[in-house]
Symmetry: C2
Subunit: 362 residues, 2 copies
């Protein structure tokens, strides 16, 4: 299909390889592999995971869970502290599939206990240091109160503890990621020592691409839930999690205007396509994307010193060298490697593979 | 309709009043009012403009033009330097409606001249100081070359000059906005003095909510194309363009988690709902949204010192006072006033009015 507007290009081989590596790692460490599907959000890409033995998934909303249930998945963790306003929708999908949710408050358990009619697996969300949601790992009184309340509930089953070391995304390199991971392992070790004898079947689940990719020690961990690794992005490369060759998507976009006096190219590709996540460049500048050339096999590695410097609603500004300006013509398509692939997919909601297939999302 | 997930709430009265004020201003200054529909992106809201005599509109993409053509609009400016890869789509809509486009390069004119089969109005995009797209206003050789080429074309008609003082968005107050506007007026005055005698029918068009709202001098201007004013947002309030009472949309979102030790509330409302635009607060902090209470009539003004401090894919972190934490309960809906309403609408693509009606977008 002829590309005329901003379109995600997906390299299926790279994507398969990313899935293979993570599935292999999970198996080597005897971990349940429950990938987070919020990154690709696609039933078709979801099927690719089946070849690697995946039959359990994570999603980030009740609606996304409903979409994957409709597409044949029957063991889903909604990896977001549960929003009680969606209890009816939860009841609906739990009639057909095995659903786990996350809680971090007694209010939510009280409410669900009264209003839920299906059996639901419940993980207690633990704050492993990310400081977003979750009970502090050492708030033993709080945690025990939640477990006690779950134990009394007819339809809610205590499944274990779940954490997300999202703070790993603040790392500058592998060492910092490993330090975040070690810190999480310490916390989980303590939790496990307290609860495992009374609840021998509970599981300890962690997730985030940086630690899951870089770490080799998964002591006391039963399950991993990475998501971003399926595509990777500039942020992962910057942290040393992967290389540019491992990034499986770019956004193809038309060049619409050139400004040689200020070394800038304007592309049709803005905040509504890429989202506005950025990384900080070596001179303190904001980078909203790296720039690649498209070719027969997909795309090149990013061009040195050429990057997306500003994003408006539909416009992207590319800071370019003179040689890049010379090569790039109005009406050409160039590629932008996204800073954050999850948000880019969420914005564009569609892929074209390097083989020319079109794949939709949730 | 019961709200259970992030949903834009639209106050129709405030929106009507915003349209009324801008339409009245355009009439008072004898300006063509060609509002930019990229902010609301909705056929139904578009109809509200008809009551104020609007029959010409601006849009930001060829696809958005096609949507509004299908919904009865027949005089549309695609206010984005034309992307020649969409020439076929342009031909298709220009068969049914009067379409104007923007160009800033001779390459684009050459290409269109060969490939366009319908009559298209062409504005030369002038850079009024925004440094994004457009020919520099004093590049008289360039501008004259573009005009000459247009004059030779069978299907392309030179319509005039168009500018967008997007740099007004960097202003801190009305005085700075007015200074941006005066600067634009100077440039337009010079262009007019050069070209109006040879091309007496051309028009000079400007657009952007800050200058169009604040300015009272529209000497040498024929047309305005503001967009954001239809809803406004925190950014406009911060620049002194309007007050919080003039902001016509907020996003209702469920509270899912509370953290009293660090004075934080977590809501189901993230980057995929609000986008990631921010303003800088008085202590240098990033504000991704202001927080309001919902009530029978819509919502309150923003609560002092309570704001969205971080956005993840689906999570929003709200920095709250203790009194706010005390009032806000898990399962409550609260409102977030967006920093940038255009991007929020583009992300959520649907409204619920304070009267309970649901309105779709493009």
């Amino acid at each position: 299909m002829q590309i005329t507007s901003p379109t995600i290009i997906l390299d299926k081989k790279k994507c398969h390889h990313n899935i293979f590596l993570m599935a292999q790692k999970a198996r080597a460490h005897n971990l349940i592999f429950r990938p987070h599907f919020k990154t690709h959000q696609s039933a078709i890409i979801g099927q690719w995971f089946r070849d690697f033995g995946v039959d359990k998934i994570s999603v980030s909303s009740v609606e996304m869970a409903a979409y994957f249930v409709k597409n044949g998945w029957d063991d889903i963790t909604i990896a977001f502290v549960f929003n009680i306003l969606e209890t009816q929708k939860l009841n609906d999908i739990a009639k057909i599939a095995k659903i786990n949710i996350l809680v971090d408050s007694i209010e939510t358990i009280f409410y669900l206990d009264k209003h839920i009619s299906e059996n639901i697996g419940v993980f207690i969300k633990i704050d492993l240091g990310n400081k977003r949601t979750g009970v502090e790992y050492d708030s033993i009184v709080n945690i025990s109160t939640l477990i006690d309340q779950l134990s009394k509930s007819k339809n809610l089953t205590f499944k274990g503890f779940i954490g997300h070391s999202g703070n790993s995304y603040k790392s500058k390199n592998k060492e910092e990621i490993l330090s975040v991971h070690q810190n999480s392992l310490e916390k989980i070790k303590q939790l496990r020592s307290i609860y495992i004898s009374k609840y021998p079947d509970i599981i300890f689940s962690i997730g985030d691409t940086p630690t899951n990719t870089v770490a080799d020690d998964f002591t006391n961990i039963d399950e991993i839930r990475p998501g971003n690794f399926v595509f990777n992005d500039v942020k992962q490369v910057n942290m040393g999690v992967c290389s540019y060759e491992d990034v499986a998507i770019i956004v193809a976009c038309p060049i619409v205007s050139k400004h040689s006096r200020r070394n800038e190219i304007i592309v049709y590709c803005g905040a509504i396509h890429l989202s506005k996540d950025f990384v900080i460049g070596k001179n303190g500048e904001r980078l909203y994307g790296k720039v690649v050339f498209l070719n027969e096999n997909g795309w090149t590695n990013p061009v040195d010193d050429v990057y997306v410097s500003e994003l408006y609603q539909e416009h992207g500004v590319i800071k370019a060298s003179h040689s890049f300006l010379f090569k790039a013509k109005i009406g050409d398509l160039i590629g932008i490697m996204p800073i954050h692939s999850c948000l880019t997919v969420s914005a564009l909601k569609k892929y074209q593979t390097t083989d020319g297939d079109v794949i939709g999302t949730f």
